[in-house]
Symmetry: C2
Subunit: 332 residues, 2 copies
Protein backbone atom coordinates (compact mmCIF):
# COMPACT_ATOMS: atom_id res chain seq x y z
CA UNK A 1 0.00 0.00 0.00
CA UNK A 2 1.20 3.53 -0.76
CA UNK A 3 2.31 5.75 2.11
CA UNK A 4 1.07 9.31 2.59
CA UNK A 5 3.46 11.84 4.08
CA UNK A 6 2.74 15.45 4.99
CA UNK A 7 5.20 18.25 4.49
CA UNK A 8 5.40 20.09 7.81
CA UNK A 9 6.19 23.44 6.15
CA UNK A 10 3.63 23.58 3.34
CA UNK A 11 1.09 21.09 4.79
CA UNK A 12 1.16 19.35 1.40
CA UNK A 13 0.53 15.60 1.31
CA UNK A 14 2.43 13.35 -1.05
CA UNK A 15 1.58 9.77 -2.00
CA UNK A 16 4.69 7.63 -2.06
CA UNK A 17 4.72 4.44 -4.09
CA UNK A 18 6.59 2.09 -1.77
CA UNK A 19 5.33 -1.16 -3.33
CA UNK A 20 6.85 -0.87 -6.79
CA UNK A 21 9.39 1.95 -6.62
CA UNK A 22 10.40 3.16 -10.05
CA UNK A 23 14.05 2.71 -10.92
CA UNK A 24 15.97 5.37 -12.85
CA UNK A 25 15.64 3.39 -16.10
CA UNK A 26 11.83 3.22 -15.72
CA UNK A 27 11.48 6.92 -16.48
CA UNK A 28 11.15 7.79 -20.12
CA UNK A 29 13.90 10.15 -21.13
CA UNK A 30 13.02 12.98 -23.44
CA UNK A 31 15.85 14.31 -25.53
CA UNK A 32 17.01 17.86 -24.92
CA UNK A 33 16.10 19.40 -28.25
CA UNK A 34 17.24 22.98 -28.75
CA UNK A 35 17.07 25.31 -31.69
CA UNK A 36 20.18 25.36 -33.85
CA UNK A 37 22.12 28.53 -34.61
CA UNK A 38 24.85 30.71 -33.09
CA UNK A 39 24.71 30.76 -29.28
CA UNK A 40 24.42 34.23 -27.68
CA UNK A 41 25.97 32.94 -24.44
CA UNK A 42 29.19 31.69 -26.07
CA UNK A 43 32.61 33.25 -25.76
CA UNK A 44 33.04 35.77 -28.57
CA UNK A 45 29.30 36.26 -29.08
CA UNK A 46 28.94 38.82 -26.28
CA UNK A 47 27.47 41.33 -28.75
CA UNK A 48 24.44 39.07 -29.18
CA UNK A 49 23.13 39.64 -25.64
CA UNK A 50 21.77 42.81 -24.02
CA UNK A 51 24.58 44.81 -22.37
CA UNK A 52 26.50 43.20 -19.53
CA UNK A 53 25.29 44.02 -16.01
CA UNK A 54 28.11 42.34 -14.14
CA UNK A 55 30.89 39.83 -14.81
CA UNK A 56 33.93 38.18 -13.29
CA UNK A 57 36.63 39.06 -15.81
CA UNK A 58 40.33 38.74 -16.37
CA UNK A 59 42.06 41.98 -15.58
CA UNK A 60 42.32 44.35 -18.51
CA UNK A 61 39.35 42.93 -20.45
CA UNK A 62 36.31 45.05 -21.23
CA UNK A 63 32.59 44.59 -20.71
CA UNK A 64 30.78 42.90 -23.61
CA UNK A 65 33.97 41.32 -24.95
CA UNK A 66 35.62 37.96 -24.21
CA UNK A 67 37.74 37.50 -21.05
CA UNK A 68 34.97 36.59 -18.61
CA UNK A 69 34.34 33.65 -16.32
CA UNK A 70 30.72 34.28 -15.28
CA UNK A 71 28.62 36.94 -16.99
CA UNK A 72 25.28 38.55 -16.08
CA UNK A 73 23.06 40.19 -18.70
CA UNK A 74 19.43 41.24 -18.87
CA UNK A 75 17.09 38.64 -20.29
CA UNK A 76 16.46 39.53 -23.93
CA UNK A 77 12.83 38.51 -23.46
CA UNK A 78 12.22 39.59 -19.87
CA UNK A 79 9.12 38.48 -18.00
CA UNK A 80 9.28 41.83 -16.19
CA UNK A 81 10.72 45.20 -17.12
CA UNK A 82 13.24 47.13 -15.04
CA UNK A 83 12.30 50.66 -16.12
CA UNK A 84 9.34 52.49 -14.63
CA UNK A 85 7.47 53.05 -11.40
CA UNK A 86 5.37 50.39 -9.80
CA UNK A 87 1.70 51.14 -10.40
CA UNK A 88 -1.08 49.20 -8.78
CA UNK A 89 -4.74 49.44 -9.63
CA UNK A 90 -8.02 47.54 -9.42
CA UNK A 91 -10.45 46.31 -12.05
CA UNK A 92 -13.76 45.24 -10.52
CA UNK A 93 -12.92 42.49 -8.07
CA UNK A 94 -9.37 42.12 -9.39
CA UNK A 95 -6.04 43.59 -8.27
CA UNK A 96 -3.47 44.44 -10.90
CA UNK A 97 -0.01 45.87 -11.23
CA UNK A 98 2.25 46.81 -14.09
CA UNK A 99 5.07 44.43 -14.90
CA UNK A 100 7.99 45.99 -13.04
CA UNK A 101 10.87 43.74 -12.03
CA UNK A 102 14.32 42.55 -12.99
CA UNK A 103 14.97 39.48 -15.09
CA UNK A 104 18.64 38.64 -15.40
CA UNK A 105 20.55 35.76 -16.96
CA UNK A 106 23.68 34.53 -15.25
CA UNK A 107 25.81 32.73 -17.84
CA UNK A 108 27.58 30.07 -15.77
CA UNK A 109 30.52 29.52 -18.11
CA UNK A 110 31.86 30.77 -21.46
CA UNK A 111 31.97 27.19 -22.79
CA UNK A 112 28.94 25.87 -24.62
CA UNK A 113 29.50 22.23 -23.74
CA UNK A 114 30.10 22.63 -20.00
CA UNK A 115 27.49 22.50 -17.27
CA UNK A 116 27.90 23.20 -13.55
CA UNK A 117 29.17 19.66 -13.01
CA UNK A 118 32.01 20.16 -15.51
CA UNK A 119 33.32 23.34 -13.88
CA UNK A 120 36.28 23.38 -11.51
CA UNK A 121 35.42 24.03 -7.86
CA UNK A 122 36.73 27.58 -8.29
CA UNK A 123 34.61 28.21 -11.39
CA UNK A 124 31.48 26.85 -9.68
CA UNK A 125 32.23 29.06 -6.68
CA UNK A 126 32.23 32.07 -9.00
CA UNK A 127 28.70 31.19 -10.10
CA UNK A 128 27.53 31.08 -6.45
CA UNK A 129 29.40 34.30 -5.84
CA UNK A 130 27.63 35.95 -8.76
CA UNK A 131 24.24 34.83 -7.40
CA UNK A 132 25.11 36.63 -4.15
CA UNK A 133 26.48 39.76 -5.78
CA UNK A 134 23.42 40.23 -7.94
CA UNK A 135 21.10 39.61 -4.96
CA UNK A 136 22.90 42.19 -2.86
CA UNK A 137 22.92 44.74 -5.67
CA UNK A 138 19.23 44.36 -6.56
CA UNK A 139 18.11 44.65 -2.95
CA UNK A 140 19.11 48.31 -3.06
CA UNK A 141 16.19 48.87 -5.44
CA UNK A 142 13.30 49.89 -3.21
CA UNK A 143 10.68 48.69 -5.69
CA UNK A 144 11.60 45.03 -5.11
CA UNK A 145 10.60 42.77 -2.25
CA UNK A 146 11.86 39.36 -3.31
CA UNK A 147 14.55 37.80 -5.46
CA UNK A 148 14.39 34.29 -6.81
CA UNK A 149 17.38 32.52 -8.36
CA UNK A 150 16.86 29.30 -10.27
CA UNK A 151 18.15 27.10 -13.03
CA UNK A 152 16.25 25.24 -15.73
CA UNK A 153 18.52 22.49 -17.08
CA UNK A 154 17.29 20.73 -20.20
CA UNK A 155 14.36 21.46 -22.48
CA UNK A 156 11.92 19.39 -20.39
CA UNK A 157 12.74 21.62 -17.40
CA UNK A 158 11.92 24.72 -19.44
CA UNK A 159 15.36 25.79 -20.71
CA UNK A 160 15.14 27.48 -24.10
CA UNK A 161 18.90 27.70 -24.66
CA UNK A 162 21.33 24.84 -24.24
CA UNK A 163 24.30 26.87 -22.95
CA UNK A 164 24.43 26.54 -19.14
CA UNK A 165 22.85 29.55 -17.44
CA UNK A 166 20.89 30.50 -14.34
CA UNK A 167 18.15 33.08 -13.94
CA UNK A 168 17.38 35.75 -11.40
CA UNK A 169 14.02 37.49 -11.12
CA UNK A 170 13.41 40.39 -8.73
CA UNK A 171 9.74 40.88 -7.88
CA UNK A 172 7.73 43.80 -6.51
CA UNK A 173 5.76 41.43 -4.24
CA UNK A 174 6.50 38.38 -2.12
CA UNK A 175 5.28 35.41 -4.15
CA UNK A 176 2.56 33.08 -2.93
CA UNK A 177 4.78 30.01 -2.51
CA UNK A 178 7.24 31.99 -0.43
CA UNK A 179 4.46 33.43 1.74
CA UNK A 180 3.24 29.89 2.31
CA UNK A 181 6.67 28.62 3.33
CA UNK A 182 7.09 31.60 5.64
CA UNK A 183 3.67 31.06 7.22
CA UNK A 184 4.32 27.33 7.71
CA UNK A 185 7.70 27.83 9.29
CA UNK A 186 6.47 30.72 11.47
CA UNK A 187 3.65 28.54 12.81
CA UNK A 188 6.16 25.87 13.79
CA UNK A 189 8.42 28.46 15.39
CA UNK A 190 5.57 29.93 17.40
CA UNK A 191 4.62 26.49 18.67
CA UNK A 192 8.04 24.98 19.33
CA UNK A 193 10.36 27.96 19.49
CA UNK A 194 12.68 26.38 16.94
CA UNK A 195 13.33 26.71 13.20
CA UNK A 196 11.64 23.85 11.37
CA UNK A 197 14.44 23.58 8.82
CA UNK A 198 17.01 23.26 11.61
CA UNK A 199 14.87 20.42 12.98
CA UNK A 200 14.60 18.79 9.56
CA UNK A 201 18.37 18.94 9.07
CA UNK A 202 18.93 17.55 12.56
CA UNK A 203 16.50 14.66 12.02
CA UNK A 204 17.96 13.80 8.60
CA UNK A 205 21.57 13.90 9.85
CA UNK A 206 20.67 11.80 12.89
CA UNK A 207 18.73 9.18 10.90
CA UNK A 208 21.31 9.15 8.07
CA UNK A 209 18.86 7.17 5.90
CA UNK A 210 18.36 9.85 3.25
CA UNK A 211 21.59 11.87 3.54
CA UNK A 212 23.63 12.10 0.34
CA UNK A 213 26.54 14.37 1.32
CA UNK A 214 27.42 16.02 4.61
CA UNK A 215 30.14 18.65 4.82
CA UNK A 216 31.16 21.00 7.61
CA UNK A 217 28.45 23.57 6.84
CA UNK A 218 26.02 21.84 4.49
CA UNK A 219 23.99 18.70 4.07
CA UNK A 220 22.31 17.36 0.93
CA UNK A 221 19.55 14.75 1.25
CA UNK A 222 16.46 13.28 -0.41
CA UNK A 223 13.69 14.88 1.68
CA UNK A 224 11.34 12.60 3.62
CA UNK A 225 8.43 14.43 1.94
CA UNK A 226 9.78 14.58 -1.61
CA UNK A 227 7.33 15.88 -4.19
CA UNK A 228 9.30 14.47 -7.12
CA UNK A 229 11.28 11.24 -7.57
CA UNK A 230 14.98 11.85 -6.88
CA UNK A 231 14.37 15.30 -5.40
CA UNK A 232 17.36 16.56 -3.39
CA UNK A 233 17.60 19.49 -0.97
CA UNK A 234 20.77 21.24 0.18
CA UNK A 235 20.59 23.00 3.54
CA UNK A 236 23.13 25.03 5.50
CA UNK A 237 23.50 23.26 8.86
CA UNK A 238 23.69 26.50 10.78
CA UNK A 239 20.59 28.64 10.91
CA UNK A 240 20.57 31.37 8.27
CA UNK A 241 17.55 33.00 6.67
CA UNK A 242 19.19 34.86 3.76
CA UNK A 243 21.11 33.08 1.04
CA UNK A 244 23.04 36.24 0.17
CA UNK A 245 24.53 36.36 3.69
CA UNK A 246 26.56 33.23 3.02
CA UNK A 247 30.19 33.74 4.06
CA UNK A 248 32.78 33.78 1.34
CA UNK A 249 34.60 30.69 2.59
CA UNK A 250 31.29 28.78 2.65
CA UNK A 251 30.63 29.60 -1.00
CA UNK A 252 33.40 27.22 -2.00
CA UNK A 253 31.90 24.47 0.14
CA UNK A 254 28.43 25.11 -1.26
CA UNK A 255 29.74 25.02 -4.83
CA UNK A 256 31.38 21.67 -4.12
CA UNK A 257 28.32 20.03 -2.54
CA UNK A 258 26.06 21.42 -5.30
CA UNK A 259 28.42 20.13 -7.98
CA UNK A 260 28.69 16.66 -6.48
CA UNK A 261 24.92 16.43 -5.89
CA UNK A 262 24.18 17.43 -9.49
CA UNK A 263 26.86 15.05 -10.78
CA UNK A 264 25.36 12.13 -8.86
CA UNK A 265 21.92 13.01 -10.25
CA UNK A 266 23.35 13.32 -13.76
CA UNK A 267 24.96 9.88 -13.60
CA UNK A 268 22.08 8.09 -11.86
CA UNK A 269 19.45 9.63 -14.17
CA UNK A 270 21.42 9.71 -17.46
CA UNK A 271 21.58 13.51 -17.63
CA UNK A 272 17.88 14.11 -17.17
CA UNK A 273 16.37 17.60 -17.08
CA UNK A 274 16.07 19.32 -13.70
CA UNK A 275 15.24 22.62 -12.03
CA UNK A 276 16.95 23.99 -8.99
CA UNK A 277 15.64 26.87 -6.97
CA UNK A 278 17.22 28.86 -4.16
CA UNK A 279 14.58 29.34 -1.46
CA UNK A 280 15.43 32.37 0.63
CA UNK A 281 13.77 35.06 2.76
CA UNK A 282 12.31 38.35 1.57
CA UNK A 283 14.66 41.29 2.15
CA UNK A 284 13.04 42.33 5.42
CA UNK A 285 14.38 40.93 8.70
CA UNK A 286 11.05 39.66 9.95
CA UNK A 287 11.63 36.00 9.13
CA UNK A 288 15.07 35.97 10.70
CA UNK A 289 14.38 33.35 13.36
CA UNK A 290 12.05 30.96 11.64
CA UNK A 291 13.08 30.80 7.99
CA UNK A 292 16.15 28.98 6.70
CA UNK A 293 17.42 29.32 3.16
CA UNK A 294 18.05 26.19 1.12
CA UNK A 295 18.31 24.83 -2.41
CA UNK A 296 15.70 22.47 -3.87
CA UNK A 297 16.72 20.33 -6.85
CA UNK A 298 13.84 18.75 -8.74
CA UNK A 299 14.57 16.26 -11.53
CA UNK A 300 11.79 16.39 -14.11
CA UNK A 301 11.14 12.70 -14.59
CA UNK A 302 7.37 12.63 -14.50
CA UNK A 303 4.59 14.82 -15.83
CA UNK A 304 2.39 16.79 -13.50
CA UNK A 305 -1.19 15.90 -14.43
CA UNK A 306 -4.80 16.65 -13.46
CA UNK A 307 -4.62 15.10 -9.99
CA UNK A 308 -1.61 17.17 -8.93
CA UNK A 309 -3.00 20.40 -10.44
CA UNK A 310 -6.36 19.87 -8.81
CA UNK A 311 -5.29 18.84 -5.36
CA UNK A 312 -1.69 19.83 -4.67
CA UNK A 313 -1.07 16.17 -3.78
CA UNK A 314 1.93 14.64 -5.52
CA UNK A 315 2.34 11.05 -6.66
CA UNK A 316 5.93 10.07 -6.01
CA UNK A 317 6.97 7.04 -8.04
CA UNK A 318 10.29 6.52 -6.23
CA UNK A 319 10.51 6.82 -2.43
CA UNK A 320 13.39 9.04 -1.27
CA UNK A 321 14.76 6.01 0.63
CA UNK A 322 15.13 4.20 -2.72
CA UNK A 323 16.36 7.23 -4.68
CA UNK A 324 19.19 7.83 -2.21
CA UNK A 325 20.61 4.35 -2.90
CA UNK A 326 21.01 5.08 -6.60
CA UNK A 327 22.53 8.48 -5.91
CA UNK A 328 25.02 7.02 -3.44
CA UNK A 329 26.00 4.27 -5.85
CA UNK A 330 26.52 6.63 -8.80
CA UNK A 331 30.13 6.30 -9.87
CA UNK A 332 31.47 9.84 -9.98
CA UNK B 1 5.17 45.99 -20.52
CA UNK B 2 3.69 42.83 -19.02
CA UNK B 3 0.63 43.10 -16.78
CA UNK B 4 0.39 41.44 -13.38
CA UNK B 5 -3.00 40.18 -12.25
CA UNK B 6 -3.90 38.66 -8.90
CA UNK B 7 -6.34 35.81 -8.49
CA UNK B 8 -8.84 36.90 -5.83
CA UNK B 9 -9.44 33.32 -4.64
CA UNK B 10 -5.91 31.93 -4.39
CA UNK B 11 -4.02 35.27 -4.10
CA UNK B 12 -1.73 33.98 -6.86
CA UNK B 13 -0.17 36.54 -9.20
CA UNK B 14 0.22 35.86 -12.90
CA UNK B 15 2.39 37.75 -15.38
CA UNK B 16 0.55 38.28 -18.63
CA UNK B 17 2.49 38.93 -21.79
CA UNK B 18 0.38 41.59 -23.46
CA UNK B 19 3.10 42.96 -25.75
CA UNK B 20 3.73 39.91 -27.94
CA UNK B 21 0.86 37.52 -27.27
CA UNK B 22 1.64 34.02 -28.48
CA UNK B 23 -0.64 32.72 -31.20
CA UNK B 24 -1.82 29.10 -31.24
CA UNK B 25 0.77 28.18 -33.90
CA UNK B 26 3.60 29.60 -31.76
CA UNK B 27 3.32 26.73 -29.28
CA UNK B 28 5.35 23.69 -30.11
CA UNK B 29 3.09 20.70 -30.40
CA UNK B 30 4.30 17.45 -28.95
CA UNK B 31 2.85 14.34 -30.50
CA UNK B 32 0.64 12.13 -28.35
CA UNK B 33 2.78 9.00 -28.25
CA UNK B 34 1.18 5.99 -26.59
CA UNK B 35 2.31 2.43 -26.17
CA UNK B 36 1.02 0.04 -28.81
CA UNK B 37 -0.94 -3.07 -27.98
CA UNK B 38 -4.51 -4.18 -27.24
CA UNK B 39 -6.52 -1.48 -25.44
CA UNK B 40 -8.10 -2.54 -22.13
CA UNK B 41 -10.76 0.16 -22.45
CA UNK B 42 -12.09 -1.03 -25.84
CA UNK B 43 -15.37 -2.76 -26.47
CA UNK B 44 -14.84 -6.50 -26.18
CA UNK B 45 -11.73 -6.17 -24.00
CA UNK B 46 -13.68 -5.79 -20.75
CA UNK B 47 -11.82 -8.77 -19.27
CA UNK B 48 -8.58 -6.76 -19.39
CA UNK B 49 -9.66 -4.30 -16.69
CA UNK B 50 -10.33 -4.87 -12.98
CA UNK B 51 -14.01 -5.77 -12.36
CA UNK B 52 -16.66 -3.22 -13.31
CA UNK B 53 -17.85 -0.96 -10.50
CA UNK B 54 -20.66 0.71 -12.40
CA UNK B 55 -21.80 1.14 -16.02
CA UNK B 56 -24.60 2.47 -18.17
CA UNK B 57 -25.58 -0.61 -20.17
CA UNK B 58 -28.11 -1.80 -22.67
CA UNK B 59 -30.78 -3.82 -20.97
CA UNK B 60 -30.01 -7.49 -20.73
CA UNK B 61 -26.23 -7.15 -20.98
CA UNK B 62 -23.96 -8.27 -18.15
CA UNK B 63 -21.19 -6.59 -16.22
CA UNK B 64 -17.70 -7.06 -17.69
CA UNK B 65 -19.07 -7.83 -21.16
CA UNK B 66 -19.87 -5.54 -24.12
CA UNK B 67 -23.13 -3.59 -24.20
CA UNK B 68 -22.06 -0.52 -22.24
CA UNK B 69 -22.04 3.18 -22.93
CA UNK B 70 -19.90 4.48 -20.03
CA UNK B 71 -18.02 2.09 -17.76
CA UNK B 72 -16.32 2.58 -14.38
CA UNK B 73 -13.57 0.26 -13.18
CA UNK B 74 -10.89 0.42 -10.50
CA UNK B 75 -7.57 1.75 -11.68
CA UNK B 76 -5.30 -1.22 -12.32
CA UNK B 77 -2.41 0.77 -10.84
CA UNK B 78 -4.21 2.75 -8.14
CA UNK B 79 -2.48 5.63 -6.38
CA UNK B 80 -4.50 4.67 -3.29
CA UNK B 81 -6.04 1.42 -2.13
CA UNK B 82 -9.69 0.92 -1.23
CA UNK B 83 -9.31 -1.90 1.32
CA UNK B 84 -8.29 -1.23 4.91
CA UNK B 85 -8.74 1.19 7.76
CA UNK B 86 -7.26 4.62 7.77
CA UNK B 87 -4.22 4.70 10.04
CA UNK B 88 -2.40 7.88 10.91
CA UNK B 89 0.90 8.11 12.71
CA UNK B 90 3.87 10.38 13.28
CA UNK B 91 7.57 9.97 12.60
CA UNK B 92 9.64 12.63 14.33
CA UNK B 93 8.37 15.94 13.03
CA UNK B 94 6.38 14.30 10.21
CA UNK B 95 2.74 13.22 9.92
CA UNK B 96 1.96 10.13 7.91
CA UNK B 97 -1.00 8.01 6.90
CA UNK B 98 -1.45 4.76 5.04
CA UNK B 99 -2.59 5.01 1.43
CA UNK B 100 -6.35 4.52 1.75
CA UNK B 101 -8.56 5.93 -0.98
CA UNK B 102 -10.45 5.08 -4.14
CA UNK B 103 -8.99 5.45 -7.61
CA UNK B 104 -11.48 4.78 -10.37
CA UNK B 105 -11.36 5.06 -14.13
CA UNK B 106 -14.44 6.23 -15.98
CA UNK B 107 -14.19 5.01 -19.58
CA UNK B 108 -16.05 7.72 -21.50
CA UNK B 109 -16.93 5.66 -24.56
CA UNK B 110 -16.49 2.12 -25.90
CA UNK B 111 -14.88 3.48 -29.07
CA UNK B 112 -11.12 3.88 -29.16
CA UNK B 113 -11.06 6.73 -31.64
CA UNK B 114 -13.69 8.95 -30.03
CA UNK B 115 -13.09 11.65 -27.47
CA UNK B 116 -15.66 13.71 -25.54
CA UNK B 117 -16.00 16.06 -28.50
CA UNK B 118 -17.02 13.21 -30.82
CA UNK B 119 -19.79 11.94 -28.57
CA UNK B 120 -23.45 12.78 -29.11
CA UNK B 121 -24.96 15.16 -26.55
CA UNK B 122 -26.71 12.19 -24.95
CA UNK B 123 -23.50 10.16 -24.74
CA UNK B 124 -21.60 13.09 -23.22
CA UNK B 125 -24.45 13.56 -20.72
CA UNK B 126 -23.97 9.95 -19.63
CA UNK B 127 -20.34 10.71 -18.81
CA UNK B 128 -21.40 13.66 -16.62
CA UNK B 129 -24.09 11.49 -15.09
CA UNK B 130 -21.53 8.81 -14.25
CA UNK B 131 -19.27 11.42 -12.58
CA UNK B 132 -22.23 12.30 -10.34
CA UNK B 133 -23.28 8.73 -9.60
CA UNK B 134 -19.80 7.71 -8.55
CA UNK B 135 -19.45 10.85 -6.40
CA UNK B 136 -22.72 10.16 -4.62
CA UNK B 137 -21.87 6.51 -4.10
CA UNK B 138 -18.36 7.11 -2.72
CA UNK B 139 -19.55 9.77 -0.29
CA UNK B 140 -21.24 7.04 1.71
CA UNK B 141 -17.79 5.77 2.65
CA UNK B 142 -17.02 7.45 5.96
CA UNK B 143 -13.25 7.21 5.45
CA UNK B 144 -13.31 9.76 2.62
CA UNK B 145 -13.48 13.52 2.83
CA UNK B 146 -12.98 14.69 -0.74
CA UNK B 147 -13.52 13.44 -4.29
CA UNK B 148 -11.68 14.83 -7.27
CA UNK B 149 -12.71 14.10 -10.85
CA UNK B 150 -10.39 14.99 -13.68
CA UNK B 151 -9.29 14.16 -17.18
CA UNK B 152 -5.79 13.98 -18.66
CA UNK B 153 -6.10 14.23 -22.44
CA UNK B 154 -2.94 13.50 -24.40
CA UNK B 155 0.43 12.19 -23.29
CA UNK B 156 1.75 15.68 -22.47
CA UNK B 157 -1.13 16.11 -20.01
CA UNK B 158 -0.19 12.86 -18.27
CA UNK B 159 -2.50 10.34 -19.98
CA UNK B 160 -0.92 6.89 -20.18
CA UNK B 161 -3.64 5.33 -22.35
CA UNK B 162 -5.04 6.86 -25.53
CA UNK B 163 -8.63 5.65 -25.15
CA UNK B 164 -10.75 8.52 -23.76
CA UNK B 165 -11.23 8.17 -20.00
CA UNK B 166 -11.66 10.26 -16.87
CA UNK B 167 -10.39 9.59 -13.37
CA UNK B 168 -11.91 9.84 -9.93
CA UNK B 169 -9.88 9.81 -6.72
CA UNK B 170 -11.50 9.76 -3.28
CA UNK B 171 -9.21 11.02 -0.55
CA UNK B 172 -9.16 10.62 3.24
CA UNK B 173 -8.22 14.29 3.68
CA UNK B 174 -9.14 17.60 2.05
CA UNK B 175 -6.26 18.44 -0.28
CA UNK B 176 -4.16 21.56 0.11
CA UNK B 177 -5.32 23.27 -3.09
CA UNK B 178 -8.96 22.78 -2.11
CA UNK B 179 -8.33 24.12 1.40
CA UNK B 180 -6.73 27.17 -0.18
CA UNK B 181 -9.67 27.80 -2.51
CA UNK B 182 -12.06 27.36 0.40
CA UNK B 183 -10.08 29.76 2.59
CA UNK B 184 -9.87 32.37 -0.18
CA UNK B 185 -13.55 32.26 -0.98
CA UNK B 186 -14.55 32.22 2.70
CA UNK B 187 -12.48 35.33 3.31
CA UNK B 188 -14.27 37.12 0.47
CA UNK B 189 -17.65 35.94 1.77
CA UNK B 190 -16.90 37.16 5.28
CA UNK B 191 -15.92 40.57 3.94
CA UNK B 192 -18.58 41.08 1.27
CA UNK B 193 -21.30 38.62 2.18
CA UNK B 194 -21.30 37.25 -1.34
CA UNK B 195 -19.85 34.23 -3.14
CA UNK B 196 -16.73 35.26 -5.03
CA UNK B 197 -17.46 32.87 -7.91
CA UNK B 198 -20.94 34.37 -8.30
CA UNK B 199 -19.24 37.77 -8.52
CA UNK B 200 -16.70 36.49 -11.05
CA UNK B 201 -19.46 35.02 -13.23
CA UNK B 202 -21.45 38.26 -12.97
CA UNK B 203 -18.46 40.42 -13.90
CA UNK B 204 -17.49 38.18 -16.84
CA UNK B 205 -21.04 38.03 -18.20
CA UNK B 206 -21.45 41.78 -17.82
CA UNK B 207 -18.12 42.63 -19.50
CA UNK B 208 -18.58 39.95 -22.21
CA UNK B 209 -14.92 40.37 -23.21
CA UNK B 210 -13.78 36.88 -22.22
CA UNK B 211 -17.02 34.90 -22.46
CA UNK B 212 -16.94 31.94 -24.84
CA UNK B 213 -20.39 30.36 -24.41
CA UNK B 214 -23.33 31.36 -22.27
CA UNK B 215 -26.31 29.07 -21.81
CA UNK B 216 -29.30 29.22 -19.47
CA UNK B 217 -27.45 27.71 -16.49
CA UNK B 218 -23.75 27.85 -17.43
CA UNK B 219 -21.06 30.16 -18.71
CA UNK B 220 -17.64 29.27 -20.14
CA UNK B 221 -14.93 31.94 -20.31
CA UNK B 222 -11.19 32.57 -20.38
CA UNK B 223 -10.58 33.74 -16.82
CA UNK B 224 -9.17 37.24 -16.26
CA UNK B 225 -6.45 35.64 -14.11
CA UNK B 226 -5.60 32.67 -16.34
CA UNK B 227 -2.59 30.65 -15.22
CA UNK B 228 -2.17 28.98 -18.61
CA UNK B 229 -2.60 30.24 -22.17
CA UNK B 230 -6.07 29.34 -23.48
CA UNK B 231 -7.32 28.29 -20.04
CA UNK B 232 -11.14 28.07 -19.90
CA UNK B 233 -13.45 27.79 -16.89
CA UNK B 234 -17.06 26.61 -16.89
CA UNK B 235 -19.24 27.88 -14.04
CA UNK B 236 -22.87 27.24 -13.14
CA UNK B 237 -24.55 30.67 -13.11
CA UNK B 238 -26.64 29.84 -10.06
CA UNK B 239 -24.81 29.38 -6.79
CA UNK B 240 -24.11 25.74 -6.03
CA UNK B 241 -21.29 24.33 -3.93
CA UNK B 242 -21.47 20.63 -4.81
CA UNK B 243 -21.01 19.35 -8.33
CA UNK B 244 -22.91 16.15 -7.56
CA UNK B 245 -26.05 18.15 -6.71
CA UNK B 246 -26.42 19.18 -10.36
CA UNK B 247 -30.01 18.62 -11.51
CA UNK B 248 -30.56 15.97 -14.15
CA UNK B 249 -31.85 18.41 -16.76
CA UNK B 250 -28.77 20.58 -16.25
CA UNK B 251 -26.46 17.65 -16.93
CA UNK B 252 -27.45 17.74 -20.58
CA UNK B 253 -26.70 21.47 -20.76
CA UNK B 254 -23.35 20.99 -19.00
CA UNK B 255 -22.41 18.17 -21.38
CA UNK B 256 -23.19 20.43 -24.34
CA UNK B 257 -21.20 23.44 -23.10
CA UNK B 258 -18.27 21.20 -22.11
CA UNK B 259 -18.31 19.51 -25.51
CA UNK B 260 -18.40 22.78 -27.44
CA UNK B 261 -15.69 24.35 -25.26
CA UNK B 262 -13.40 21.35 -25.75
CA UNK B 263 -14.16 21.28 -29.47
CA UNK B 264 -13.24 24.95 -29.86
CA UNK B 265 -10.01 24.33 -27.96
CA UNK B 266 -9.29 21.26 -30.09
CA UNK B 267 -9.70 23.19 -33.33
CA UNK B 268 -7.92 26.36 -32.24
CA UNK B 269 -4.99 24.44 -30.73
CA UNK B 270 -4.76 21.52 -33.22
CA UNK B 271 -5.82 18.87 -30.70
CA UNK B 272 -3.31 19.81 -28.04
CA UNK B 273 -3.09 18.01 -24.70
CA UNK B 274 -5.18 19.33 -21.83
CA UNK B 275 -6.32 18.58 -18.29
CA UNK B 276 -9.72 19.37 -16.93
CA UNK B 277 -10.58 19.26 -13.27
CA UNK B 278 -13.91 19.52 -11.49
CA UNK B 279 -13.44 21.81 -8.50
CA UNK B 280 -16.10 21.08 -5.90
CA UNK B 281 -16.69 21.26 -2.13
CA UNK B 282 -15.76 18.66 0.45
CA UNK B 283 -18.76 16.52 1.52
CA UNK B 284 -19.54 18.57 4.59
CA UNK B 285 -22.01 21.45 4.35
CA UNK B 286 -19.73 24.05 5.83
CA UNK B 287 -18.75 25.71 2.55
CA UNK B 288 -22.33 25.91 1.34
CA UNK B 289 -22.55 29.69 1.06
CA UNK B 290 -19.12 30.67 -0.13
CA UNK B 291 -17.89 27.93 -2.43
CA UNK B 292 -19.11 27.38 -5.98
CA UNK B 293 -18.25 24.30 -8.01
CA UNK B 294 -16.77 24.75 -11.48
CA UNK B 295 -14.65 23.08 -14.14
CA UNK B 296 -11.15 24.31 -15.02
CA UNK B 297 -9.74 23.33 -18.42
CA UNK B 298 -5.99 23.79 -18.79
CA UNK B 299 -4.36 23.28 -22.20
CA UNK B 300 -0.78 22.10 -21.70
CA UNK B 301 0.98 24.36 -24.17
CA UNK B 302 3.93 25.51 -22.10
CA UNK B 303 6.27 23.88 -19.62
CA UNK B 304 6.20 24.82 -15.98
CA UNK B 305 9.77 25.73 -15.05
CA UNK B 306 11.88 26.89 -12.08
CA UNK B 307 10.24 30.29 -11.74
CA UNK B 308 6.71 28.88 -11.46
CA UNK B 309 7.78 26.07 -9.10
CA UNK B 310 9.68 28.46 -6.88
CA UNK B 311 7.21 31.31 -6.67
CA UNK B 312 3.73 30.16 -7.66
CA UNK B 313 3.73 33.02 -10.19
CA UNK B 314 2.73 31.98 -13.69
CA UNK B 315 4.00 33.41 -16.97
CA UNK B 316 1.07 33.56 -19.35
CA UNK B 317 2.19 33.82 -22.96
CA UNK B 318 -1.28 34.56 -24.36
CA UNK B 319 -3.64 36.99 -22.57
CA UNK B 320 -7.15 35.58 -22.07
CA UNK B 321 -8.45 38.52 -24.13
CA UNK B 322 -6.42 37.23 -27.09
CA UNK B 323 -7.13 33.55 -26.52
CA UNK B 324 -10.88 34.14 -26.55
CA UNK B 325 -10.69 35.53 -30.08
CA UNK B 326 -9.15 32.33 -31.43
CA UNK B 327 -11.66 30.20 -29.58
CA UNK B 328 -14.59 32.22 -30.86
CA UNK B 329 -13.29 32.06 -34.44
CA UNK B 330 -12.70 28.29 -34.36
CA UNK B 331 -14.89 26.77 -37.05
CA UNK B 332 -16.86 24.03 -35.35
Amino acid sequence: MAVLRKDPVSSRWVIINVDNPKKPEDFEKEEHVFKKGPCPFCYGNEFMTPPEIDAFRHEGTYANTPGWLVRTVSNKFPALQIEGDLERRGEGIYDMSNGIGAHEIIIDTPYHDKTITDLTDEEATSVINMYCRRSIDLQKDKRFRYIIIFKNHGAVAGASLEHSHSQLIALPMIPKNVLEELAGSRKYFEYRGRCIFCDIAKQEIQEKERVLIETKHFVSFCPFVSRFPFEVHILPKEHSCHFHEIKEKEMFELAKILKETLLRLKIALSDHSYNFIIHTSPFDRESHDYYHWHIEIMPRLTRVAGFEWGTGFYLVATPPETAIKYLREAKI
